[in-house]
Symmetry: C2
Subunit: 211 residues, 2 copies
Amino acid sequence: MLLRSGDLESAESRFRARLINSASGVRSAVLIGTKSIKGTENLAIFSTVFHVGANPPLIGFLMRPVNRVRHTYENISKTGFFTVNHIPYSARAAAHQTAAQYPEHRSEFEACGFSPEYIEDFFAPFCAESPVRSGCSIEYETEIPANGTRLMVGRILWLDVADGLTAPDGFIDLAKAETAAVSGLDGYHKVGRPERYSYPEPERKPKILKP
Amino acid sequence: MLLRSGDLESAESRFRARLINSASGVRSAVLIGTKSIKGTENLAIFSTVFHVGANPPLIGFLMRPVNRVRHTYENISKTGFFTVNHIPYSARAAAHQTAAQYPEHRSEFEACGFSPEYIEDFFAPFCAESPVRSGCSIEYETEIPANGTRLMVGRILWLDVADGLTAPDGFIDLAKAETAAVSGLDGYHKVGRPERYSYPEPERKPKILKP
């Protein structure tokens, strides 16, 4: 099925949203944890999280210019801190539910059944159920002019990984962690066992690394 | 395992790179296809592709400020066009190999065993082996000051999805497409069947959508 510009423009808007969203592929699903200056905890699902750099350790995500994510944006803007929590596949329905438009005073931790916890001297709550979680300070943000989406880049101040997931060389096994991946607007996936390959060099076939 | 800023700073650099890269989660692996003004075709693997918007249809990726991706960046800067090709899981080793530092005149399509094809009136080659592929014009780019990484945003001019993968509502089944997901610097994963959930509303449990 080949769709050109004109076909995409004339497509029904929700069909186009599902199609174009799917076309970016399978991504990690994370819950972003924040707290307002009034003390209300917030938890919201995001599917556009990506690696920005390791030194300094940076992680980025995109924020749509829509109502439903306003609490997360306001909390980050005003307090400077957030957590990134990978979602257990078993908690996919509850994580999806954090995208519902709850009133400002209502915590999605409580409404959706997640447990807020804190690391000493860090303002934002993390998700106790998450096997891979990190705490960040906002480092940089900018607007993408074409549609007003905001790029948010955080500096990782701490990283907490459940026992038994990290290889001696630093690789985290996210299949063993049983985290969820997401596709389109509403599809949740398990991921299979990782197969790792050696550093690529020209004219030499990559070897499979032993687990 | 809790690592704080100081632990991350003092970690061995390759360990830190693998760890922080893994911490952003499982992502889609794509091959970006370009062509130089001299006519040399280029194909390179990227793991930081994300959805930016559906109207207009936009897709983004990050480009590290390193040698190995310079051909892709130069080609996009000078010609304005690129393709985004999802990777069949069966071609993961060949796709990984496109990251090797081939000389400028050498096409990774040829070196790694992929077939370049063209859509009428579109400059950049796509990958015939890819079940989900799109053609883009560069719409916006900006540098992330913290580490010189470049954010590239493309406008999707065409989208081509293999038959039998798109649901009537626009959702593309990437598990059926057997595309690869990636984690860390070198881990490749299959993804399981998607489970889809209904639009989230407060105080109502999301329902599983029938496939």
